[in-house]
């Protein structure tokens, strides 16, 4: 079965270029839209397997789109494509449920490989994203929650993330740590899962607190 992809980017040239590359590579591009509201509407009705999403949208923030899409369909895989560099918005996107991140200047082959991995459910990390995730876990550790359920990285996970952040490929990391590349991929995946789970718990807690406040 061909993989159904939706492309979200407010820049028409980009949208077309990315959609063409995907079609040529054998993907079924079911929609290419230019703003966040449209992305949520089309995404929730057509249910694509993979969403290639630009974080810079004219109306909604990329995080809002990701939250809406993940809420509707937990199986959707979102690959964030951004020109904005590795900053807070990328971290927020990943925490909200995106499973991969790639800078826009990445080459065609790199992009298609990233889409393929995203479709398989693998996390796509850049060194920049690894640095952000490491920083986020350290930030969480420095300001622990009252009830002690602060997510923590295992030593191995920290080790793997640091190597990813230093630009080593999974294969190189596997060689260094004497692991299989698949195990390296799993470690990376776990770190992302912990962050997303923590984010969901935080959101629920926030909503509960707000709800209790308004009731009382």
């Amino acid at each position: 079965m061909t993989i159904r992809v939706m492309v979200v980017d407010d820049h028409p040239m980009w949208r077309e270029s990315v959609a063409r590359d995907l079609t040529e590579a054998g993907y079924d591009v079911i929609a290419a839209v230019g703003d966040g509201a449209q992305a949520v509407r089309v995404g929730t009705s057509l249910r694509p397997d993979v969403v290639v999403l630009d974080l810079q949208l004219p109306d909604l923030s990329g995080v809002d789109v990701i939250t809406a899409l993940c809420k509707d369909d937990t199986a959707v895989r979102i690959l964030v494509l951004s020109a904005s560099g590795e900053h807070q918005d990328v971290l927020d996107a990943v925490k909200a449920g995106a499973t991969g991140y790639l800078v826009k200047s990445a080459g065609r082959a790199e992009f298609l490989a990233a889409v393929a991995r995203t479709a398989e459910g693998d996390a796509v990390f850049t060194p920049g994203l690894a640095g952000l995730v490491l920083g986020e876990f350290r930030r969480l550790a420095a300001t622990p929650a009252d009830d002690g359920d602060t997510p923590q990285l295992t030593e191995r996970e920290t080790e793997v993330l640091r190597l990813v952040a230093k630009g080593l490929s999974y294969k190189q990391i596997a060689g260094r740590l004497v692991l299989s590349p698949r195990t390296v991929q799993n470690h990376v995946q776990h770190t992302l899962g912990k962050l997303q789970l923590h984010n969901r718990i935080e959101l629920v807690r926030y909503a509960l607190e707000r709800g209790l406040d308004t009731d009382g």
Binding site: D10, H11, M13, W14, S17, Q56, A83, S84, G85, E86, H87, Q88, V90, L91, V103, K104, S105, A106, G107, R108, F111, T126, P127, G128, L129, A130, G131, L132, L134, G135, E136, R138, R139, A142, R162, A165, K166, G167, L168, Q172, R176
Partner: protein, 378 residues
């Protein structure tokens, strides 16, 4: 617009209020005057001039010397006319002149138009005519002149002050607008130019050959432009005497250098941050020197509880295991030694590791309180 409009309006109100007072004086002292009919005529002239002046001064382009001089001449004329209406003895005794306070209208006009010096000069002109009219200098006759002088001087001074404040406010507003415009431009550049540059880089790499070179150039410019518009205002990168190490190192990011770190700023005392940035820069220079322009490098910034760790890794050929210690022992480690020197000054440490085929890694650790020792010493 602004401050001057209400000021001129206030002068117009003053003219009519003082005119009403002069009319009241004329009515009560009508029988004491030597020539009451001329007094009434002068009063009518003052009324006509008050109406004319109020209309004339309302337009900024007419507030020039011809009008100001005419205003002064009419005022002095009305004042001089007092000598035919009021007896000489009474004037000498300090009695009110025919226009009374109305003469201050012209003095205020000069003060507002020309500042404190012209205000004072106008007061002196009116005062001189007043004194010559009375024919004697006494405390009673001087009182009015001194009051006029003070009014002309201080009003002129206050008006300048107000106008300057207004100009400053205007400049500040203009600067604010310019800043907003710059921010808007940055957003636009972000949304359009960066995207196109990234697209050129992407397509160029696919086409190969000369197009690939163009693509690489576009990619480099994209990285430069992105760091220019993305890092925001300089004051955000500095908090008191602490600097954001991430922003400082971020300037070294390019198509071949990736800088990674936490999403939040990494604070370090500024001298320490600058020194550490210099150490990273020399490590990157070293990568370019030995690995060529195509060599890639990754800079990772990590903030631990008591330490900040910055790692520079390249994908060059690496250094065979024995060579590093050998070179260090022989004191031939050039760049590494300069990095070590800088880190030692910061109270930190450097570890250089290399795996043949997987490049070289320079790990620098500094305490979060790192100051540059040479600069801390008294």
């Amino acid at each position: 617009m602004g401050l001057e409009v209400p000021l001129w309006r206030a002068v117009a109100v003053f003219r009519f209020a003082s005119l009403a007072y002069a009319a009241a004086l004329l009515a009560t002292g009508y029988r004491t005057y030597t020539n009451p009919l001329l007094g009434v005529a002068v009063l009518v002239a003052m009324l006509v001039w008050s109406v004319f002046a109020s209309i004339a001064y309302a337009a900024p382009r007419r507030r020039r010397w011809p009008l100001l001089i005419a205003d002064m001449l009419v005022t002095l004329g009305c004042l001089s006319a007092s000598s035919w209406v009021i007896s000489h003895d009474r004037l000498q005794g300090g009695a009110a002149t025919l226009p009374m306070a109305w003469v201050a209208g012209a003095v205020l006009a000069w003060a507002i138009a020309g500042g404190r010096r012209w205000g004072a000069l106008a007061a002196l002109l009116v005062g001189a005519v007043d004194v010559s009219l009375r024919g004697a200098v006494t405390t009673a006759t001087l009182n009015g002149t001194v009051l006029l002088l003070l009014a002309g001087f201080s009003i002129g001074y206050l008006v300048r002050l107000g106008v300057e404040a207004e100009q400053k406010l205007q400049r500040a507003t203009e600067m604010e607008a310019a800043t907003r415009e710059r921010e808007r431009l940055a957003r636009d550049i972000h949304d359009s130019v960066l995207q196109v540059l990234a697209l050129v880089q992407r397509r160029g790499a696919e086409l190969g050959g000369q197009a690939a070179d163009l693509g690489r150039l576009a990619g480099e410019q994209e990285a430069v432009l992105r760091s220019l518009v993305g890092t925001g205002a300089p004051e955000l990168r500095q908090d008191g005497d602490r600097c954001d190490l991430k922003a400082l190192l971020g300037r070294h990011a390019s198509a071949s250098v990736t800088v990674s770190g936490p999403a939040t700023p990494v604070w370090l005392p500024c001298p320490g941050a600058t020194e550490l940035t210099a150490a990273v820069a020399s490590a990157l220079d070293n990568v370019r020197q030995h690995g060529g322009p195509r060599a890639r490098a990754w800079v990772l910034i990590e903030e631990e509880l008591t330490e900040i760790v910055v790692t520079v890794r390249d994908d060059g050929p690496g250094i065979p295991a024995g060579r590093l210690t050998e070179a260090a022992q022989a004191g031939r480690l050039g760049v590494a030694q300069s990095i070590q020197g800088r880190l030692r000054d910061l109270g930190g440490s450097v570890t250089i590791t290399s795996t043949p085929g997987e490049g070289t890694e320079v790990e620098m650790r500094v305490p979060t309180t790192a100051q540059h020792k040479a600069k801390v010493r008294p």
